[in-house]
């Protein structure tokens, strides 16, 4: 094997640049040049593999990739806008603080940003701040950048200059200076630079302020405030002349990202330091809201083509509940779902707008459609209503099937859109009817996608509440829905109907529903209630009764609306194409069960090593890999293991006594033991000789 040979030289180095190991490559390179395949690195043909057993048309592969790109770019844009929108308020606050903070008050202006779990938010803000037109230079300092004061200063100076000017300029400023050469941590460099560039503000952002060394922060702050190295050395800071302060020479503004709370942060600083800063608190919003908004944009945006099914959706929300997660991270996971869909589903190409004009061979594609489970259901349903010819055509005629597929695909997408319209409507109704238990968009969507919202208590409750509304609040509600949902016909009609009714009846006040419980009156006293109970139905005027009839009609319409809209997406024909409903790609990729995988590999190795022969043995057997055997013995042992016993047991199981090759078995034992050690499962024990202690327990 030439691989192992050539590894010899390179494998020994810590880092090396890969060189092709195959000398035959020259020839290959030439042949490919002949084919003139000089293309950009992101070419579809290099990224996507032909599916359908490799028979997929190259044009379709390309189209598939292009569709993905197009679809995703749109979403990316939308996400960026959402995030910007969410951040905009706090960003404006922060920017105005940075620009207007007074530097003459003798204290360092400081922004204390409570970020909580929303870590990525600060990064976004700082990026925006740096790219802002205001003449603020932003230096982001990580706790790792500041192991000591000198390094911290050096990093501040270097980053401040290189961010704007580049590395060469920094070297130049450092070296080509008139007068004595300054050390790289001398703030004079920064001072000169700031003066030259007329920088208005210099923001030093401490991203993870809790992780910074307290004494270092202390020193840094006093240095900025009181200036001079001597200040640090003498420690008698107060006696120094305040005019040596850097603050009036360099326009420092500090920014602390705080994960806990500003009070805690303040208490962690010594009194003397805390008094150096003039702080203002900024509160970041929670992640949850932005995640919901991003999700909504994925599912209900104007030209969505692919929806996430309930399995991936519930997984995503579960994960964002269980772990801290940035909105970007969330978007990335959705992106991965999109990627999986387009990468591995050859039919996803049908989502392209250009599919009908693209005219490569469709035979394979049609065959793939015929293999879909939903196609089968569709045909069965057609057969039930005796449309045999239709089914026959679908099965035999590619052109017909293709046309039908496109048509059904569009109708399916339409119905998905409707589904989310209904979800939105429920959401609005819920909040307006002041229902006892309101669900947020995420739970509602997941339930709708699973198809169990139609008969749910939520919908029933909404319908029941609708019946009790009086005419005024109904009017208000309908106009509200129309405002938010826009083009939804059902509600438009309802509103029209109500308006014409009110017009013809010439209603001035509010009409009551006969189903209404008029809680105002009833709840007052028990006697009044008793009296009112009698009146409740009798006290209704004729108009009220006619209004109630109208309400009943509205109720029926709405009920119909919900039953038709809240379909189960899995029942739709071609749902495999426009619905991504696989959980595993996301789950395996983003919440790996690493420890479980290793434990499983070692305790039941034949899950992975598919036995080529039929000899399958359940438990410990010599047939297993040595490490697996040792691991299983190890699992049974106590917390302290005698290595000699372990070796003997291992030897017995391997069956070394039969083969008689003790040293070979011992070699395997060595190898297995070293692996267990490297996996962190055993460690040496100092107290007893030749004993090792166990440090991992399976399944814990």
């Amino acid at each position: 094997m030439d691989a192992t040979e050539s590894e010899g030289g390179l494998g020994n180095a810590g880092v090396y640049v890969y060189q092709s190991r195959k000398p035959a490559n020259v020839q290959r390179g030439r042949s490919s040049k002949k084919r003139k395949v000089v293309q950009s690195q992101n070419d579809a043909s290099l990224l996507f593999v032909p599916l359908l057993d490799g028979k997929e048309d190259a044009g379709l592969v390309k189209l598939r990739y292009a569709t993905f790109q197009k679809l995703w770019l749109k979403h990316e844009e939308r996400i960026r806008n959402i995030l910007q929108d969410i951040d905009s308020r706090i960003f404006e606050d922060l920017a105005s603080f940075v620009n207007t903070a007074s530097l003459t008050a003798g204290r360092i202006p400081t922004a204390l940003v409570t970020i909580g779990s929303n870590v990525s938010c600060l990064t976004r803000l700082l990026e925006r701040l740096a790219s802002d037109k205001a003449k603020a230079v932003v230096v982001v300092l990580d706790s790792g950048d500041a192991p000591s004061l000198k390094t911290a200063l050096k990093n501040i100076i270097r980053t401040a200059i290189t961010n704007a000017e580049g590395t060469e300029q920094y070297q130049k400023i450092l070296n080509d200076r008139a007068g004595p050469r300054l050390l790289p941590y001398d703030l004079n460099i920064l001072h000169e630079y700031v003066r030259k560039k007329d920088t208005r503000r210099l923001v030093i952002a401490f991203q993870d302020s809790e992780a910074f060394d307290q004494t270092l922060l202390n020193d840094l702050l006093s240095l900025i405030r009181y200036g001079g190295w001597t200040a640090l050395c003498n420690a008698s800071v107060t006696s120094l002349n305040p005019s040596s302060s850097w603050l009036d020479r360099i326009p420092f503004v500090l920014l602390f990202g705080i994960a806990t709370s500003s009070e805690l942060f303040e208490t962690s600083l010594p009194q003397s330091t805390a008094s150096l800063i003039q702080g203002r608190c900024f509160e970041m919003h929670d992640v949850g809201g932005s995640i919901d908004r991003i999700y909504e944009s994925f599912q209900t945006g104007p030209d969505v083509k692919l929806w996430l099914g309930h399995r991936p959706s519930s997984f995503l929300f579960q994960k964002s509940r269980d772990y801290f997660q940035s909105p970007e991270g969330f978007a990335c996971q959705v992106k991965y779902a999109y990627m999986s869909h387009f990468f591995a589903n050859s039919l996803s190409v049908l989502l392209s707008d250009d599919i009908s004009t693209a005219s490569p061979s469709r035979a394979e594609l049609c065959q793939a459609v015929r293999n879909l489970p939903s196609f089968r259901c569709f045909c069965e349903r057609l057969l039930e209503i005796d449309r045999h010819n239709e089914v026959h055509d679908l099965l035999e005629d590619d052109a017909h099937l293709f046309k039908e597929t496109i048509r059904m695909l569009n109708s399916g997408q339409c119905r998905m859109g409707n589904l989310f319209q209904a979800v939105k409507a429920i959401l609005i109704l819920q909040t307006h009817l002041k229902m006892s238990k309101t669900n947020n968009i995420s739970t509602l969507s997941v339930r709708a996608l699973a198809g169990d919202l139609r008969a749910s208590a939520t919908v029933k409750e909404i319908l029941a509440e609708m019946k009790k509304l009086d005419s005024e609040s109904l009017q208000l509600l309908l106009s509200q829905i129309r405002k938010e949902l826009g083009h939804c016909d059902v509600f438009q009609e309802l509103q029209k109907e109500l308006a014409s009714f009110l017009k013809t009846e010439k209603v001035t006040g509010s009409l009551r529903s006969k189903h209404g419980n008029n809680s105002h009156y009833i709840m007052k006293t028990s006697t009044v209630r008793r009296a009112n109970l009698g009146k409740a139905s009798t006290g209704l005027s004729g108009k009220d009764l006619r209004y109630s009839d109208l309400l009943d009609r509205l109720h029926a319409t709405l009920e119909k609306f919900f039953t038709t809209m809240l379909i189960n997406p899995q029942d739709l024909f071609l749902n495999e194409i426009f619905l991504f409903d696989l959980k595993n790609p996301l789950k395996d990729t983003f919440t790996p069960r690493v420890r479980f995988a290793i434990e499983r590999a070692l305790s039941t190795p034949f899950d992975y090593l598919m036995p080529m022969s039929d000899e399958v043995e359940g438990h410990l057997s010599a047939g297993q890999p040595p490490t697996a055997i040792l691991y299983q013995l190890y699992l049974e042992s106590g917390s302290l293991v005698n290595t000699y016993d372990l070796w003997k047991a291992f030897y017995t199981i391997i069956g070394g006594e039969e083969t008689g090759d003790e040293r070979l078995t011992f070699t395997l034992f060595y190898q297995a033991l070293s692996e267990l050690k490297a996996l962190g499962m055993v460690k040496s024990n100092r107290r007893r000789i030749d004993h090792i202690s166990k440090s991992a327990w399976k399944g814990l």
Binding site: V49, G144, A649, G655, Q671, R686
Partner: protein
Amino acid sequence: MKREAPDSPNSPDQGISMPKKPKTALVHDRTNGTLSSRTGLTPQKSTAFANNLNPSKLRTPTRKSQAKSLFSTPRGNSGEGDRGSRTKNADQSAKRKSALVLFEQSEDEFWDGADRLAEEILEEESDASTNHEEEGEEIVTTGARGTRAPTDATDTPRHRPGRPKGSKNRRSPTPEGELPPHERYFFQNRAGPPQTSNYSLSRVSLLTHEEYFENRARYHDPHLEEKDFLLELHRRSFPQWNFEFSEQFNICLYGYGSKRRLVLEFADWLHDRYAPSPPTIVVVNGYKPNLSIRSIFATIVGAILGSDTPSKLGAQPTEVLEFLQSAVRSRRSQSRVMVLIHSIDAPPLRRMAHQALLARLAATPSIHLLATADTPNFSLMWDLTLRDQFNFAFHDCTTFAAYEAEWTVVDEVHQLFGRRGHRINGRDGVGFVLKSLPENARSLYRILLIELLSAAGGLAGSDDEDAGENAVRREEGGARREAVIEFRTLYQKASEEFIASSEMMFRTLLKEFHDHQMITSRMDASGAEILGVPLSREEMEGVLEDLVMN
């Protein structure tokens, strides 16, 4: 240490150091040896004891004894009398208890001895019949398990590959049945003396590097085909990984087995796929102990810029990283850079600071990171921010491949056994170091060796007299007896020979040895410094020979 009474009927009384103990072990060893040489059985005390209780089981002692040898090795079993007498025990005074234990112990041994003798005789008598019976049983069981059945009827059933049937539950310290993981943890960590035997590895000679590699080369892996198949499965996801890279994901491969080969094959694949203008691929061997994070960045810079690399990059990894990032930014059109890191969780890279830098590298656009991780808990290295920066897509790539390059097996195991000494370099290594040292350092080492060897010579003599050497050694404080010399003595010798005129100088010389791990030093009970050499006697002799010759 001294426990008054066994806390449970099953718990053996090895904790009490009995004067007769060594002898027991000795007797036991002998029987063991003779028996096993004949029949391959290792009847032991508990077997004998069980037989004593139920004579009907006498016929088939094999299963038990086989089982016995499985995991922990035998000890004296507690007497019959204290079975189920826990409450009684608790009521007794300490003195009475110890007296009782003493009494029972000796009685036990007596019984044991007699029993073993009886058993031996019985074995001899009923050898044939027992074997026949067992043969029958064996055939049934093996037939059921689908392994090979013995063909030769007169063949004594020996240890066959695989765990002897039914032994698991009886012998292992883990009780029968499937315990939930937490129960198992508490069970295995329960209080009481450790339930392990007194045997030590001195019974086998440890492997040297040469022997290890020799044997390793001889070994034919029975699962080669399956492993190749597994690798082939992983290979099929290469295009997928490539796509993930192109969408700004980084990839982390986990699972059991070395993923080196797989990753290198991926590099080959990438190279071929983009044949005319392959992407730049930088490979990092994260497990190399001398790996520095700066060198990673510097190599990447070199790979990107080629001959334009500035001669001075800065000493801080951060500086190099920032330079790298600006270089990448300015060369946007340039092809992407793949960084393949083997074992990102290996000790050289494990530190938080390093991971933070790597995360920043990974977050750089047009740099793609493929990392492999071996340990089960590697994801603990990354907090929320790092995880976001890495933006990993994880893939289970269990390969079952041996870790050949990642670590040195023999060194690791010896370290685990607490035999650091055997590692470093052995005789050749020490010789090599000595050659580069000045004359008086060599003389000092020579004196040290001579002293040690003469001391060891005395030791060995006394040891050989005692056949039960293991037991004797154990009695003397656990550690294997190593020839040592006191610091003072050595210094005196050295100054007598005019090697070191002052203690300062003497220490300087020793420091050199220390740095090369050619000597060991520790404090003894009285606080005096004790020096030793981490070499076996033969090796010491060899080194001394070389020293004297030159």
